[in-house]
C-alpha cells in the first residue's frame, strides 16, 4: 500500500483528502458530528451541574473523537496513521456503549451509579489497555492493495461481545423503567429517550456489522446518520419536558454550522484573494454570530425572568382572590346567623304590639314600635351585606323592563323632598324638554342606586343645594346628582366604588354607614351595561355623581320580549 501507487495525496488536518473511497463519508461523518456537538454543548450549558447533561456531553465527545478517528483512517495517506487510529478506535467504541448504559441508568433511576457499579462497568476496559497495540487488536493489515483491508483481531470480538452485553443491560433498564413509570408524562419521556438511545446504538453498530460482513463500507456509513436521530429524540425530550428555549438552540446551531461551513472553505481555496475574502467573511460571521447568540440569549433570559415574575404574580393574585372569597363567605355565614335573632326580635315585638300576650300600655307600645323600627333597619343592613356576597357569587337577579326613566327619577326625588327641607337644602329636579326613549332597566335596582346617591348628597351637604338632572346624548341617558357638599379628594375618587370604603370626610361627619352603597351601585350599573362615576374638584368643593345608562342595554337582547320575564325569574 503505497501512496504513490494508490494515487493518494496528502490529507489536510489528517481528514480532508480525495483518498476516501466515497465522498459520502464526509456527509455521514461531519453532519452528525456537527449536530451532535452543538446539541451536546447546548444541553450541557443549560445546566452544567446536571449529571445527565454531563453524561450526554461525554457521549457526544466520545462520538466526535470516534468520528474523527474513523475519518483519519479513511483519508490519511500514511499507513502508520491508519494503523494507529484504527487500533485506538476500539476504546471509544466501547466507551460509547458504556456511557450509553450509564446515561440510560441515570435517566431512569434519577441517581448516579454506585462506586461499585462504576468499577464493574469499567472492568471490561482492562484488556483493551493491555492489548490495544498488540496483534490481538488489528491482527492483519493488507498492504498489497489500496483498499485498507484489515483483519480485526480477537480483541474486537471481545469488545463486540461486551457491547452486546451492555445493550442487553440497556434493554433491561428500559424494561424496568417502563414498569416503574406509570405516569403518562414520564412514560412518554422515557419512550422518547430510550428509543433514541436504542436507535443510536443500532445505527452505530450497523457500520461495523455491515462493513465486516459485506465488505461494502458505503452501506455502513449510513448508520452514522442514526446519531442525529438520537440527538433529535433527546432534544425533543428536553424541549418538551424541560421547557428551554428552542429559539436559542436553533440560532446557536445555525451560527456554528455557518461558521464551520465558511471555515471549511479554507481547505479548497487556491488563490490569496479568495483566502482574504473568506477570512473576512469568516471573521464577520464569527463576530455577528456571537452578537446574535448573545442577544437571543439575553432575550430568552429576560423572557424567563418575566415568566417567573408573572408566575409569582399569578400565585399572589390567586391567593388574594381566595382571601376575598373567604371574606365574602364569612360575611354570608355571619349574616345568615344574624338573621335568626333578627327574625325572632321582629316576630316577638310584633306579637307583643298586637296584644298576643295581653294588653300593652301605650307608652310601652311606643317603645316597642321604636324597637321594631330600629330592628328593621338592622335587617336592611344585613340584607345589604348579603347582597355584597350575592353580587360576588353572581347570584343577583335582574328584572329588566322597558320603562321611561324620567318619571322613575322624579318619583325618587319626591321621596327626598322632606329630608332636604328639614336640612334647609334646595333639592331641584331638572328633566329634559324632550322625551327620552324607553330604557331596558331593572327599575328597583336603578331606584336603589339613584336613591343612594341622592341620600349621600343630602347627608354630606351642610348647606347649599342638591340638584338631580336627567339628560341624554350619544345614545346614553344620564342621571347627574350634583351637590355643594364635602367633595371628594383625588385619592378617594379612585377607590370610592370599592366595597367597605368610606372617605375620611364622611367618617368624621357620620359614624354609621357601611361603605357598601357605591360598590353595590357600581355592580348594578355594570349589569345594565352602564357606568357610575364621580367628579369633584376636591375636598369641600362639592361633588357630582353621574349614572350612565345606554339606550340599548347590551346585556339584554333587543326585540326578544320573552327575554325580560326570563331574566326576571
Amino acid at each position: 500500500m503505497d501512496p504513490i501507487i494508490c494515487g493518494w495525496d496528502t490529507a489536510k488536518l489528517l481528514i480532508f483528502s480525495d483518498n476516501v473511497f466515497d465522498p459520502l463519508i464526509y456527509y455521514s461523518h461531519l453532519g452528525p458530528l456537527l449536530v451532535a456537538f452543538v446539541v451536546g454543548i447546548f444541553v450541557f450549558l443549560t445546566n452544567r451541574k446536571d449529571l445527565i447533561n454531563r453524561i450526554l456531553l461525554s457521549i457526544v465527545l466520545f462520538f466526535c473523537i470516534w468520528i474523527f478517528f474513523d475519518l483519519v483512517l479513511w483519508a490519511t495517506e500514511k499507513n502508520e496513521f491508519t494503523m494507529f487510529f484504527w487500533s485506538a478506535m476500539i476504546f471509544f467504541d466501547l466507551l460509547i456503549y458504556s456511557t450509553a448504559l450509564y446515561f440510560i441508568h441515570v435517566f431512569i433511576k434519577q441517581r448516579d451509579l454506585s462506586f461499585f457499579q462504576k468499577v464493574l462497568i469499567s472492568l471490561p476496559f482492562i484488556p483493551l489497555i493491555f492489548f490495544s497495540f498488540t496483534r490481538y487488536n488489528i491482527e492483519f493489515f493488507d498492504f498489497t492493495n489500496c483498499d485498507r483491508d484489515a483483519l480485526e483481531g480477537i480483541l474486537w470480538s471481545y469488545t463486540y461481545a461486551i457491547e452486546i452485553l451492555y445493550t442487553v443491560f440497556i434493554f433491561i433498564e428500559i424494561f424496568f423503567g417502563f414498569l416503574k413509570a406509570r405516569k403518562e408524562n414520564k412514560l412518554k419521556r422515557l419512550l422518547v429517550v430510550s428509543s433514541g438511545v436504542l436507535l443510536f446504538l443500532i445505527a452505530f453498530s450497523w457500520g461495523n456489522i455491515a462493513g465486516n460482513w459485506t465488505d461494502d463500507w458505503t452501506v455502513g456509513q449510513y448508520g452514522l446518520f442514526g446519531f442525529p436521530i438520537f440527538v433529535g429524540f433527546l432534544t425533543y425530550a428536553i424541549v418538551k419536558f424541560k421547557a428551554f428555549d428552542i429559539k436559542l438552540l436553533g440560532v446557536q446551531a445555525l451560527i456554528v454550522s455557518l461558521i464551520l461551513l465558511i471555515g471549511s472553505q479554507f481547505f479548497f481555496i487556491k488563490t490569496t484573494i479568495n483566502f482574504i475574502l473568506t477570512g473576512i467573511t469568516f471573521a464577520l460571521a464569527v463576530g455577528f454570530g456571537w452578537f446574535l447568540i448573545q442577544s437571543v440569549k439575553q432575550e430568552v433570559r429576560r423572557k424567563e425572568e418575566l415568566q417567573k415574575i408573572s408566575d409569582s404574580l399569578a400565585v399572589t393574585n390567586e391567593r388574594l382572590k381566595e382571601l376575598d372569597n373567604v371574606k365574602s363567605e364569612f360575611i354570608s355565614i355571619a349574616s345568615h346567623q344574624l338573621r335568626t335573632p333578627l327574625t325572632a326580635i321582629k316576630g316577638y315585638v310584633s306579637l307583643l304590639l298586637e296584644g298576643s300576650y295581653g294588653k300593652v300600655p301605650m307608652p310601652i307600645q311606643d317603645v316597642l314600635n321604636k324597637v321594631y323600627t330600629i330592628n328593621n333597619r338592622l335587617v336592611q343592613l344585613v340584607e345589604n351585606l348579603l347582597n355584597v356576597s350575592r353580587i360576588e357569587a353572581g347570584r343577583i337577579q335582574y328584572n329588566f323592563e322597558r320603562i321611561q326613566l324620567e318619571p322613575l327619577v322624579s318619583e325618587i326625588v319626591d321621596t327626598f323632598v322632606l329630608t332636604a327641607k328639614k336640612k334647609n337644602l334646595t333639592l331641584t329636579l331638572n328633566l329634559p324638554n324632550y322625551v327620552l326613549p324607553k330604557l331596558t332597566i331593572d327599575p328597583n335596582k336603578i331606584k336603589e342606586v339613584v336613591s343612594n346617591l341622592i341620600d349621600n348628597s343630602l347627608k354630606y351637604t351642610k348647606e347649599g343645594s342638591v340638584s338631580v338632572s336627567v339628560e341624554a346624548s350619544n345614545g346614553i341617558a344620564r342621571v347627574v346628582i350634583s351637590d355643594t357638599g364635602i367633595g371628594i379628594s383625588r385619592d378617594d375618587k379612585v377607590k370610592l366604588f370599592e366595597k367597605f370604603i368610606r372617605t375620611k370626610e364622611t367618617t368624621s361627619m357620620f359614624v354609621s354607614g357601611s361603605g357598601l352603597g357605591l360598590y353595590i351601585g357600581k355592580s348594578f350599573m355594570e349589569a345594565h351595561g352602564g357606568k357610575i362615576r364621580v367628579e369633584s374638584e376636591g375636598v369641600g368643593k362639592g361633588s357630582q355623581f353621574i349614572v350612565e345608562l345606554p339606550f340599548v342595554n347590551p346585556n339584554v337582547k333587543a326585540g326578544v320580549s320573552g327575554q325580560f320575564s326570563m331574566l326576571g325569574r
Binding site: H336, R339, T340, L342, T343, A344, K346, G347, Y348, S350, L351, L353, E354, G355, S356, G358, K359, M362, P363, Q365, D366, N369, T373, V379, V382, E383, L386, R390, R395, D414, T415, F416, V417, L418, T419, K422, R569
Partner: protein, 277 residues
C-alpha cells in the same frame, strides 16, 4: 277602604303623601289647619287621623286633646302623630292625651310612611281580636278545624310562629328536625305543612321531594319558611311548583304568616264551592 284625615298645612308635602297613600288604596282628605281638622272629623267618619303637630290656628296637641275629650268624636278614631317633633316630653304628652302612635317625618320616606301606617292598622285590628279572645279566656280560641304540621329546628321560631297559628285557631303539631317531621307527615293527615329548609337530620327539600312521591301526600299544601331564599335549590323548588308559597324569615312576622295561611285556605275554598255547584 281606609279613610285618612291628613292634617298638614304644607301643600307640597300634602301632594307627595296624598299620591303615595292613594296609590296604596287609601282615601285621603286634607285639613290645612286645626280648626278645619276638627270640622272634617265631625262631618265625616275617618279611620285614621294623621296629625302634624305644627299647624296654623291651633296646635296639633290641642287638636288631639279636643278629639279625645269631646265625646262628639268617635272613640275608636285612631290618631297617629306625624311630625318632626320627637322629644321624649312631647311623645309622653301625646300618649297621655291619647295618641295611637307616632310616625317620624324625617325618619321615613313617603313609601315607608305608608307601610308604617299599614303596620299600625294591622296591629290595631290584631289588638282588638286578641282582646276579645282574651276576655273570653280561659276559653280556648275558636277552632278553625285545620291541622298544620310545623317543622323547624330553631326552638324560638317554633314557639313564636306556632303560638300565633294556635291563637288564630289552627291545630299545630311541631317537630324540631327533618326526620321526625317527615315521619309525622307520613303518619297522620295534615291540611298544610310549613317547613324550614336548612335543618339537621333531613333537609326541607328532601322532605318535600319524598312527600311529593307519595300519592296520598302529594296534594298537601306546603309553605316554606327559609332564612336563605336566594339559595338555588330552593328557587328551583319554588319554580317547579312543589311548594305553594315561600317566605324569607327576616321579612315576615308571625301575623303575616297567619294571614298568608288564611288567604290560602280561603282561595282554596272558592273553586271547590264552584265545582260542587
Amino acid at each position: 277602604m281606609v279613610k285618612i284625615l291628613f292634617v298638614e298645612d304644607d301643600f307640597f308635602i300634602v301632594e307627595i303623601y296624598k299620591k303615595k297613600f292613594e296609590a296604596s288604596g287609601f282615601e285621603v282628605f286634607n285639613a290645612p289647619s286645626g280648626k278645619a281638622a276638627l270640622r272634617e272629623a265631625l262631618a265625616q267618619r275617618f279611620d285614621v287621623v294623621l296629625l302634624d303637630l305644627v299647624i296654623p290656628e291651633m296646635s296639633g296637641m290641642e287638636v288631639l286633646r279636643e278629639l279625645r275629650t269631646n265625646p262628639e268624636y268617635p272613640k275608636e278614631l285612631k290618631i297617629v302623630v306625624f311630625s318632626n317633633l320627637s322629644s321624649t316630653e312631647d311623645r309622653a304628652e301625646c300618649l297621655r292625651l291619647g295618641a295611637s302612635g307616632f310616625v317620624s317625618k324625617t325618619e321615613f320616606s313617603p313609601s315607608e310612611v305608608v307601610s308604617e301606617l299599614n303596620r299600625f292598622l294591622r296591629q290595631w285590628s290584631e289588638q282588638e281580636k286578641n282582646f276579645t279572645r282574651q276576655e273570653k279566656s280561659p276559653a280556648e280560641p275558636a277552632k278553625i278545624g285545620k291541622r298544620i304540621l310545623f317543622i323547624e329546628d330553631e326552638a324560638v321560631f317554633v314557639e313564636m310562629f306556632s303560638k300565633r297559628l294556635r291563637d288564630e285557631g289552627y291545630e299545630v303539631v311541631t317537630k324540631h328536625e327533618g326526620i321526625s317531621g317527615l315521619n309525622e307527615a307520613l303518619k297522620s293527615d295534615f291540611d298544610m305543612i310549613i317547613s324550614d329548609v336548612v335543618m339537621p337530620g333531613m333537609d326541607g327539600r328532601e322532605i318535600i321531594n319524598r312527600l311529593k312521591e307519595i300519592e296520598e301526600k302529594k296534594y298537601t299544601p306546603i309553605f316554606v319558611l327559609s332564612a336563605l331564599l336566594e339559595d338555588e335549590h330552593l328557587k328551583s323548588l319554588v319554580a317547579s311548583g312543589l311548594v305553594n308559597r315561600s317566605f324569607l324569615k327576616t321579612y315576615i312576622t308571625p301575623s303575616e304568616l297567619v294571614y298568608a295561611v288564611n288567604d290560602f285556605f280561603k282561595e282554596k275554598k272558592k273553586p271547590k264551592i264552584e265545582e260542587s255547584k
